[in-house]
């Protein structure tokens, strides 16, 4: 199976999902950029575990703050 999104798919997504019309040259640039981002984020996401969630970041900051306050 061919990997990555095509220029045509970017063009169709732009038009049909977002009502944005672009030249095919620009769609090709976006397809290339998207494929890089998509591949890299997918690879990095392999370290994700089932319970990782967007709220964890603030919880860590809050626990750091509590540690600071307890220490001061």
């Amino acid at each position: 199976m061919k990997r990555g999104v095509s220029t045509e798919l970017i063009g169709r997504q732009g038009l049909e999902l977002h009502q944005i019309e672009r030249t095919s040259g620009r769609n090709a640039e976006l397809a290339e950029e998207l494929n890089v981002i998509n591949d890299e984020v997918s690879k990095m996401a392999q370290v994700r575990e089932f319970n990782d969630n967007p709220g964890a970041f603030e919880m860590i900051l809050r626990s750091q703050l509590e540690r600071e306050e307890a220490g001061s």
């Binding site: 998207l34 981002i37 984020v41 997918s42 964890a56 860590i60 900051l61």
Partner: protein, 471 residues
């Protein structure tokens, strides 16, 4: 006092001089306006100047002082800010064509707090369009120019803030930082800038670029001035639920304590991979200075910065596409080409990729805290690995050039934004082309005090922040 003596003062000194009536607010304001009139067009630092309003406010400040009323620590001091901090009833262009005539109906919390401390609003400063660009280019308002050499970039997106503080047009300025936008223009213009911990300073009433990565921070001439501004604007804000309720530390006390006993980490990997020779020499010297000032220096292995850069960038692109979606559909021709090209890909990143990136933020923060801040108090790192580029070198010719060129500017600054860590940029010399070099000090969450103490210990014995460009 003549114009140079007045405009050459630090924020702390000019505020004290006005309070003690050694100089009036009107005199200070008029001298700043004179300097702006004479020189600001050279650097293209201002988008608008509020001459009549600020002089009237200065007169009121002097009247109040004569009656014994002091508004706050910045009583009567004229400041100017990146043109993206909203004021009720006024336009904030956000460096764009689209918002050029839009009157805002709220006032940003940071401006309210600076106003409550007595500061006056002198004008609105140049910025990259919609805070999207690390160089200071702007298709609508022209490029901002580095006061140390007008052919070179200022860094962005808080381009006017860095250039105007360095040019002695204003004593301090607010900026915003989503991937380096306070630290780069501060460092590239030879002044000091803080990106605070996520949740330390309110973002209410400021232009959003990325809800996840945005931080508002001060740019000032010295570390002490930066600490002063931070102490006035930081803290919980009910209008911004991402702010944390916690008492602010006494930054003066922290700076007075010095850095004996502080451990400063020097990255053993990653940060120095592409550092140019003369930049590396200046950074090495700055580490030696910190050691002589009493810091313990240790090498520390840092986690891979690649995921921080890439995940932070993917998040910003998705959020920006959401923020700008309506205007990009309805009036794409009103966006600058580079800005549009940076946002556009965000429409096509799958929602699952975005959520993967956001859900990994905690894991990567945890990893960084353990690897670095279990061993050191402050991490010392390069800001920009190469000498300040020229405006021409960074004037992208096509959309396909943009991602790589942006990465070359922000690869060392974006990680702190993704991780939400406080980071201070401090000048540490000049390159052969007489353009500023700077380092970053990265701290534990909510430990801005460590950064101010370390930055001040360096600044006190080197004096780089006393240098002033001749325009």
């Amino acid at each position: 006092m003549n114009t140079d003596e007045i405009t050459g003062m630090t924020l702390e000194r000019v505020a004290a001089a006005i309070r003690s009536k050694h100089v009036s607010s009107v005199e200070v304001t008029q001298r700043c306006l004179d300097r702006v009139d004479t020189l600001a067009s050279k650097v293209n630092g201002f988008i608008s100047v509020e001459r009549d309003e600020v002089l009237k406010a200065a007169e009121a400040a002097d009247d109040a002082l004569r009656q014994g009323a002091v508004c706050g620590p910045l009583h009567g001091v004229p400041l100017a800010h990146k043109d993206m901090f909203y004021r009720k009833g006024k336009v904030s262009t956000c460096g764009s064509k689209i918002m050029r005539d839009q009157v805002q109906n709220v006032t940003s919390t940071v401006l309210e707090r600076l106003g409550a401390a007595g500061a006056l609003y002198m004008g609105s400063l140049h910025m990259s369009e919609f805070a999207a660009g690390p160089t200071g280019h702007n298709d609508h308002y022209g490029p901002c120019r580095n006061p140390w050499n007008l052919d070179h970039i200022t860094g962005g997106s808080s381009s006017g803030s860095g250039a105007s503080v360095a040019s002695r047009f204003t004593f301090g300025a607010m900026g915003s930082d989503t991937g380096g936008s306070v630290r780069l223009p501060a460092g590239l213009c030879g002044v000091v800038g803080l990106k605070p911990t996520h949740g330390r300073i309110s973002r209410f009433g400021a232009l959003p670029r990325s809800w996840t990565n945005d931080a508002m921070g001060p740019i000032a001439r010295t570390v002490r001035d930066c600490a002063l501004m931070t102490s006035l604007i930081a803290g919980e804000d009910p209008k911004d639920p991402t702010t944390f309720r916690t008492p602010l530390p006494d930054y003066d006390e922290a700076m007075a304590a010095g850095i004996r006993g502080i451990t400063v980490g020097v990255p053993a990997n990653q940060f120095y991979d592409d550092v140019d020779g003369e930049i590396g020499t200046a950074l090495e010297e700055s580490i030696s200075v910190l050691e002589r000032q009493g810091a313990r220096i240790v090498k520390v292995a840092v986690p891979d910065l690649g995921p921080h850069y890439r995940l932070g960038d993917a998040i910003t692109k998705c959020e920006s596409a959401t923020i700008h979606g309506k205007w990009i559909r309805e009036r794409p021709q009103d966006y600058g080409r580079v800005v549009l090209s940076r946002i556009e890909v965000g429409f096509h990143i799958p929602a699952t990729r975005y959520l993967e990136a956001i859900s990994l933020r905690g894991r990567y923060l945890s990893e960084f805290l353990e690897a670095v801040f279990d061993k050191v108090d402050v991490l010392h790192a390069p800001l920009l690995p190469v000498p300040v580029p020229t405006i021409k070198e960074k004037d992208y010719t096509g959309s396909a050039d943009v991602p790589e060129s942006i990465a070359s500017m922000t690869k060392l600054t974006r990680p702190s934004s993704f991780l939400g860590l406080p980071t201070l940029s401090v000048p540490c010399g000049f390159s052969r082309g007489n353009l500023p070099i700077a380092f970053q000090l990265i701290g534990r969450p909510f430990r801005e005090a460590d950064l101010f103490a370390t930055g001040l210990a360096y600044e006190q014995v080197t004096g780089w922040t006393e240098a002033s460009p001749s325009l």
